[in-house]
Symmetry: C2
Subunit: 144 residues, 2 copies
DNA sequence: ATAAATTAGGACAATTTTGTCCGATTTAAT
DNA sequence: ATTAAATCGGACAAAATTGTCCTAATTTAT
């Protein structure tokens, strides 16, 4: 569904949001540990997220990553996905045709648009805040 | 969603089904042309489909590929996907966790299982025959 | 038997994705 | 000022996916 980069990006964002809600900034090293991802690769992903204003990066000693409380409740899962994977998830024919739309559909176009619409709806209605719920009480996990 | 190999595989299967319904066997070359795919790569995919009894391959002069009428109405899109991409589409956590289930879910597990269930349902209820409908009258296309 | 047309399959090549390494830069603390 | 702790960013490396090429094997027609 998503690229590895995107998976790491989502998990990282959720962890940063969680800690930001607690008022603490987190380092790359800590993030990679808590979401079980390769450190250097995660760094690249976080750069990408930083450039897209999903996370805020603070350089220097005592630096790290954080997300403002306001953004935690505003940022949608769809934005994180878009920042890393672009619109591959939404657009793009299920059978790989370059042109595929209602007028000139592939044989599964209509079946796919339905599924995709629901996926889109889900991604656009899920906030970072939503995804932090349950982590504290270990009802959900970021590494397994 | 699917790998390139899988996309070619689905399109190839649909084309073979279409021609088999007309009673004609088709060659690799013709398939690749009609679905606009790289010939040699498509050959590999068809080998895979043949091994999984999705298509029947006949060697030698006047050989080619075909699918029995019975199979055309029996084979589900899900089987083609499974033959090439395995169960990546169904299983596998949306955030890439190795273990992720109702008991130990990732933060988006519940949201994803819903989407995935509908996708699964769609793939399992769409037959090869269903996907050939519309091709003759150019209501749908296999290359664009 | 021979030739022609076809799929099978192994080896290789190119591209994309994933991952690593290291020096540069920035910031805070001493 | 110096040092330590952190991100940034470029270059490189490994792995996976996608794609190509060539020979072998099979079948039909002559």
């Amino acid at each position: 569904m998503f690229s590895k980069a995107c998976e790491y990006g989502i998990r990282a964002s959720i962890y940063i949001a969680l800690k930001s809600l607690e008022g603490t900034r987190v380092s790359l090293k800590e993030i990679a540990e808590k979401i079980d991802s390769p450190v250097a690769f995660t760094a690249k992903v976080l750069q990408q997220l930083s450039k897209n204003d999903i996370v805020e990066s603070i350089k220097g000693s005592s630096g790290g990553f954080e997300i403002s409380k306001n953004n935690i409740s505003q940022i949608k899962l769809s934005q994180i996905v878009y920042a890393i994977d672009g619109n591959n998830v939404y657009e793009g024919c299920g059978l790989g045709l370059k042109r595929c739309n209602a007028k000139e559909p592939c044989p599964v176009h209509n079946r796919f648009v339905q599924i995709r619409a629901e996926l889109k709806n889900m991604l656009e209605s899920t906030t970072l805040y939503d995804m932090t719920m349950g982590l504290e009480q270990e009802l959900t996990y970021l590494r397994r």
